[in-house]
Structures are given as structure tokens and as C-alpha cells.
């Protein structure tokens, strides 16, 4: 049958995947610490019907042969770790990372990483995510007194009791990766280290290119709605165009079938 029909089908499925990715980005436009994804495409293999550079009977060289492409395929969906906007919340356990780095939390007894800094306290005074995953290194805020929590740019957590005495609880460490785009997205704003991302490299906030911590701020989603809408229009139209190719192929085959009456 017509090769073009299969090329068009591959175009449709690629663009369908693009819509999936865009929809997920748009759904997470208000998710704290969310990082958008971007699908990238490649052309599929080419069928060479006649190679370029061969000689004709008269000795002329054919500069180009006939190569027919077989369509497109998705090659990667990449997380884009650009900084999201900061929103001031005045909440003492809202932490935003300005620059590189991730918080480490323990989820299901596994070390995982997140940029979502909307932490809470559990009943035992542990600093944890809204899902209850504890921030690492673990720190517990005394629950007996009404204390104020103070976290500086370098991640030092101290509590100030009602009489004004400050006690240092510990230092929040940040973790960076050689290739953050290779992290495995687990959902719940969490990422897992993978072979592609490399091992987590620990560091104190503000040192060795690591970001700093801003208390009372959260990092919003880095999804730009206008950009996603433009991408969505492009994907939808591209999908439509490939469907037109299939219709055309169908009509051509119909015509061919009608030669014999």
C-alpha cells in the first residue's frame, strides 16, 4: 500500500503524544514546584530507492537519489528544569529553592527528590511534605512550646522559643544532579535518581553553585500557559494535517480500485 499512509499514521501518533504532554503541563499550571515537559521528535528511517552519486549510462553523476521518508517518531520527553515563579506566602514552612538543587525526602522508605517546598509539620513535629514524606536530614521541631521556625538562606533551621532563645535544629541539604532532565518522574512532585540523571550530589545551600533557600516563598509551576496553548494549536493542526494525508491516501487507493469496473 502507499508508504505515505504509514508516515501519516506515525505523524498522528507523535502529535497525539504531544497533546498528552501538553495537557499534563496545563493541568499542572498551579502545582507547586512542577516542572514542565517537552516532547521532541525525529524523522524515522529513509527508504533509498536509488542511491545518490550513481552514474547514468551517459556517464553523468546523479547528484541525489530517491529517498522516501517513513514518518516521524517521538524521541524523548524531557523535563525542563527552568526556575518557576516565586510566590510569597508568609508561611514559615514554605521554602523555595532559588537556583539549582532539590530537597531530599523519604517516601515509601526510598530517597526521592522534590522542588516543591510547601512543607508541613506532622503531629510529632517532623518537617514533611503534604503527603507526609519526611524532609532529610530529619529534623523535629519541639511541639511543647509555641515556637517560631527560622530558616536562613544557607538552610540552617533554628527555632525561637517564646522567651526569644534560638536553638539550631540542623541544616537542610540540597541535592543536585549532573543531568536533572534524566530524573525519573514519580508523580506527587517527586523525582527518583536514574541511570540517566547520575547520583545525587549533596551540598549546603549557597555553596558550589547550589541554590539558596527562601523562607516564606513557594516555587510555582514553570508552565507558561501561552506557550503551551501555542504548542497545543501546533500539535492539533499537525494531527489534522496527517489525518488529511491518510484521507488522501484512502482516496487514491479508491481511485486505483475503480480502474477495473
Amino acid at each position: 500500500m502507499l508508504r505515505g499512509m504509514w508516515s501519516a499514521a506515525s505523524g498522528m501518533s507523535s502529535n497525539q503524544m504531544m497533546i498528552d504532554v501538553i495537557s499534563n503541563n496545563l493541568a499542572n499550571v498551579n502545582t507547586v514546584g512542577f516542572k514542565k515537559s517537552r516532547p521532541d521528535f525525529q524523522d524515522l528511517m529513509y527508504q533509498t530507492l536509488s542511491p545518490g552519486g550513481s552514474r547514468t549510462s551517459s556517464g553523468d553523476q546523479i547528484p541525489t537519489g530517491i529517498q522516501i521518508g517513513m514518518g516521524a517518531m517521538p524521541v524523548g520527553v524531557q523535563k525542563m528544569f527552568m526556575q518557576g515563579d516565586f510566590k510569597g506566602t508568609q508561611n514559615e514552612l514554605d521554602l523555595a529553592i532559588e537556583g539549582r538543587g532539590f530537597f531530599k525526602v523519604i517516601s515509601n522508605e526510598e530517597e526521592v527528590y522534590t522542588r516543591a517546598g510547601n512543607f508541613k509539620l506532622d503531629s510529632e513535629g517532623n518537617i514533611c511534605t503534604p503527603n507526609g514524606d519526611k524532609l532529610q536530614p530529619a529534623m523535629s521541631v519541639p511541639t511543647a512550646d509555641a515556637v517560631t521556625i527560622k530558616i536562613d538562606k544557607a538552610g540552617t533551621v533554628s527555632v525561637i522559643n517564646p522567651s526569644g532563645q534560638a536553638t539550631v535544629l540542623g541544616v537542610i541539604e540540597l541535592y543536585s544532579f549532573a543531568n536533572p532532565a534524566g530524573l525519573y518522574s514519580m508523580g506527587h512532585n517527586l523525582f527518583r535518581a536514574s541511570d540517566a540523571s547520575g547520583e545525587a550530589i549533596a551540598g549546603t545551600p549557597g555553596s558550589n553553585g547550589m541554590g539558596t533557600i527562601a523562607q516564606g516563598f513557594i516555587e510555582m509551576s514553570n508552565v507558561d500557559v501561552v506557550e503551551e496553548m501555542v504548542a497545543m494549536i501546533m500539535a492539533q493542526r499537525a494531527y489534522e494535517i496527517s489525518s488529511k494525508s491518510i484521507q488522501t491516501a484512502d482516496n487514491m487507493l479508491q481511485i486505483a480500485n475503480n480502474i477495473k469496473r
Binding site: L2, R3, G4, S7, A8, S10, G11, S14, N15, M18, R38, D40, F41, Q42, D43, M45, Y46, T48, L49, P51, G52, G53, T56, D60, I62, P63, T64, I66, Q67, I68, G69, M70, G71, A72, V75, Q78, M80, M82, A178, N179, A181, A196, S197, G198, G209, A235, A238, I241, S242, K244, S245, T248, A249, N251, M252, I255, A256, N258, I259, R261
Partner: protein, 227 residues
């Protein structure tokens, strides 16, 4: 039988190839750095049809991603793949876990001094391809040009291989690298759709012509007055 039919069959095969090419172009309307194919007719050669790549630039769009690089004007990135050196215009790169600048296939992007190693710090790439990290200059992106670009053969995966002589692969003197931008496909949808309609109608006309010759043959065979 009527020899005209064979010419017509040729014609419809050509229109089918043309349709295949157009369909592939349209499927790659969102492929980074894709260059459309054109099916050309060359009467001067005994081989009547050939495909050529239209290397006209695609739109360059801002992405804000620090590993995206677009080439303004001619030139290709040189990529080290397991099956040898290949060339590409797709500048959507990333960092591998061992700190190499790689493309989406995981193949190393080559600089003037071979593979490019990065620490993952603040990356900036100048218009001349100079890579700096945290302000300190490192290697320079290698951009190549070809004496006979028509000898570039598409390989799929956004790659090209050069079928010409080794000495015809030149390091581009004047490059215009745009950091945090990406070159999109150069397929113009309107143009391709018009070509597709044109190809479709040509195919249809040829089929009508085949039917006509069939009718004539039928008349010749079946009309008693002609006997």
C-alpha cells in the same frame, strides 16, 4: 495492447512517490531541525525522478532551555554515534550522567577538541559557538559545512551522512549560534497541502486516462462493425 498504458502506470507511480514524500514532510512538521524533501523531475538524466533535500532554514524559536542550540544560517552539528560520524541540525541537546553534551539519542556532540564535557553549572554559548561554564570559557561547538551539500543523505533520527569526499567537509568559518533557541521544521504546511492536492488530482487524471484507453480497447475488441 496499447502502449500508452505503460507511460500512465509510470505516471501514477511517480505521483505515489510524490505523495509519500509529502506525507513524510507533513508527519515531520513538529520535528526539530527537519528539512523537507522535494521530489524533482529531471529530464536531462535517464533517471527521471529524484529526491532532494530543501535546506532552507526553519523558524528559530526561543525555548529558554540552556541545552538548546539553533544554527542560524548554514552548517551542521557534528555528532559522534556508535556507527560513525553523523551530522544534524537538531540542537535539542542535554547532559549525560557522565557530564557529556549529548543529543536525544545519547550520542556525543563534538566540539573543536572532541566531545564536550560540562560540569552542569551555569552554561552560556556565544554566537560563535564558544561554550562557557560559570563564566570560564571551555571548548567551542564544532559546526561544519559541505562543499556539495546535495551529497548529504538522510539517515533518520535527524541525522545526515555525507557521501562526498572527506576533504569537502569544512569547518564553518562564520557561524551564528543561538543559545536557548531551537530550529523547528522547515515544512510549510500550506505549500505541502497544495502539492498534495495537486499530486492527488494528477493521480486521479491518470487513472481516468487508463480507463479511457480501456474503453477504447473494449470498443476495438467488442464493436462488430470494426470487424
Amino acid at each position: 495492447m496499447i502502449s500508452g498504458n505503460y507511460g500512465l502506470i509510470d505516471g501514477s507511480l511517480i505521483q505515489q512517490l510524490r505523495f509519500d514524500t509529502l506525507s513524510n514532510n507533513l508527519a515531520n512538521v513538529n520535528t526539530n531541525g527537519f528539512k523537507k524533501d522535494i521530489l524533482a523531475f529531471d529530464e536531462a538524466l535517464s533517471m527521471k525522478i529524484l529526491t532532494a533535500v530543501d535546506f532552507s532554514p526553519g523558524p528559530v524559536v526561543s525555548t529558554g532551555n540552556k541545552f538548546d542550540v539553533a544554527l542560524n544560517g548554514p552548517g551542521f552539528f557534528k555528532i559522534q554515534t556508535p556507527s560513525g560520524i553523523k551530522y544534524s541540525r537538531d540542537g535539542a541537546f542535554s547532559l549525560s550522567r557522565d557530564g557529556m553534551l549529548v543529543n536525544h539519542n545519547g550520542d556525543q556532540v563534538l566540539g573543536q577538541n572532541g566531545p564536550i564535557t560540562l560540569s552542569g553549572g551555569d552554561l552560556s554559548i556565544g554566537r560563535d559557538g564558544q561554550i562557557s561554564e560559570n563564566g570560564s570559557p571551555g571548548d567551542k561547538l564544532l559546526v561544519v559545512d559541505f562543499k556539495e551539500p546535495q551529497l548529504l543523505k538522510k539517515e533518520g533520527m535527524n541525522y545526515y551522512v555525507y557521501g562526498g569526499k572527506e576533504q569537502d567537509i569544512l569547518t564553518a568559518e562564520k557561524v551564528d549560534v543561538q543559545h536557548k533557541y531551537i530550529e523547528k521544521s522547515n515544512v510549510n504546511v500550506t505549500e505541502e497541502m497544495i502539492r498534495m492536492v495537486d499530486s492527488f488530482r494528477a493521480f486521479e487524471s491518470i487513472q481516468k486516462a487508463i480507463q479511457n484507453t480501456d474503453e477504447i480497447t473494449s470498443k476495438l475488441v467488442n464493436d462488430p462493425e470494426l470487424l
